[in-house]
Symmetry: C2
Subunit: 179 residues, 2 copies
């Protein structure tokens, strides 16, 4: 083989190695979540509100939760149509639910016996990302779970799609748009 | 008085009458709330999320609540500074909290005993609008309460500022920015 061919092989190999490393590790200091390869969207906290909810598991979980959507997702929610278009992204933020003494003390004036609860700390943030080609095997959705900015492990991410499967009629999305 | 003077007086009087009627009634089919004269902001539902909370008054109130802020308000929350600048607007949306059978049935899989609650209907929406000149008598804030798009009565609006007075150190704002 001549020198040019060897050079080309060398370049292609090197480029392939770099791409592999980039794909496996994400961008510098940005780790992709397992299986679906979703990176933490930089501005998810600024997305618009879809809905609010509360999850209780006695003795284990007491959370206030909000779902936020990027503009593609919000538009789809407001149109009330499924399936969601490619590019739709939904964030589900989970906080601890804690009693607010200050609020409760104020509210017992007009509302005797009032108990006010607010958010404590952020437990985890979950994402659904629509890409009907890339994620064809899982209804077009990629899933991710982050704690403190770090993605959860592979075993955790194996549970996402089976859990969402019962919502197939709503394009696998549980949350409704709050009025 | 000559004819021109009479004409001018007539025009000024008519213009004044029209302005008075406009100010008293708000724009066509947009009613201002009493005392502070706040109109329902058209796009408040699209403002960004400040925080989420839950109010319980046994037997009376069981609500999930979200506070949303316009860009001026959000910027101030993120900077963590008080007082809020003029133009800041905060919406507090109050929904009923209702049990979701669908969600609960799904979540009892991974979380035995799970109880999931979502929002029902919108009970009312309250606003705080910062204008330190116009609302100098009430800490720079105008207040408003709307049910089904209609403002509440004067008696209700007389309760807003006294209730918020205990939060004077935080520029009369109870809600905190959720992480």
């Amino acid at each position: 083989m001549n020198g040019i061919a060897l050079l080309l092989i060398g370049v292609v190999t090197l480029a392939g190695a770099v791409r592999f490393m980039a794909a496996a590790s994400g961008q510098a200091d940005e780790e992709s979540a397992p299986i679906y390869g979703v990176k933490l969207p930089a501005n998810y906290r600024e997305w618009k509100l879809i809905g609010v909810n509360n999850l209780l598991v006695t003795g284990k979980i007491d959370q206030l939760r909000a779902q936020l959507g990027n503009d593609v997702a919000i538009k789809a929610f407001k149109e009330g149509k499924v399936p969601f278009p490619d590019g739709a992204m939904i964030a589900a933020i989970h906080w601890t639910r804690v009693r607010s003494e200050d609020n409760s003390n104020v509210l017992v004036g007009p509302f005797p016996g009032a108990q006010s609860y607010v958010v404590g700390y952020s437990v985890n943030v979950q994402f659904m990302v629509k890409d009907s080609k890339k994620y064809a095997a899982t209804g077009g959705w990629g899933f991710a779970d982050f704690k403190g900015g770090k993605p959860g492990d592979k075993a955790l991410h194996e549970t996402c799609f089976p859990c969402h499967a019962p919502a197939k009629d709503r394009d696998y999305v549980f949350t409704h748009y709050a009025p």
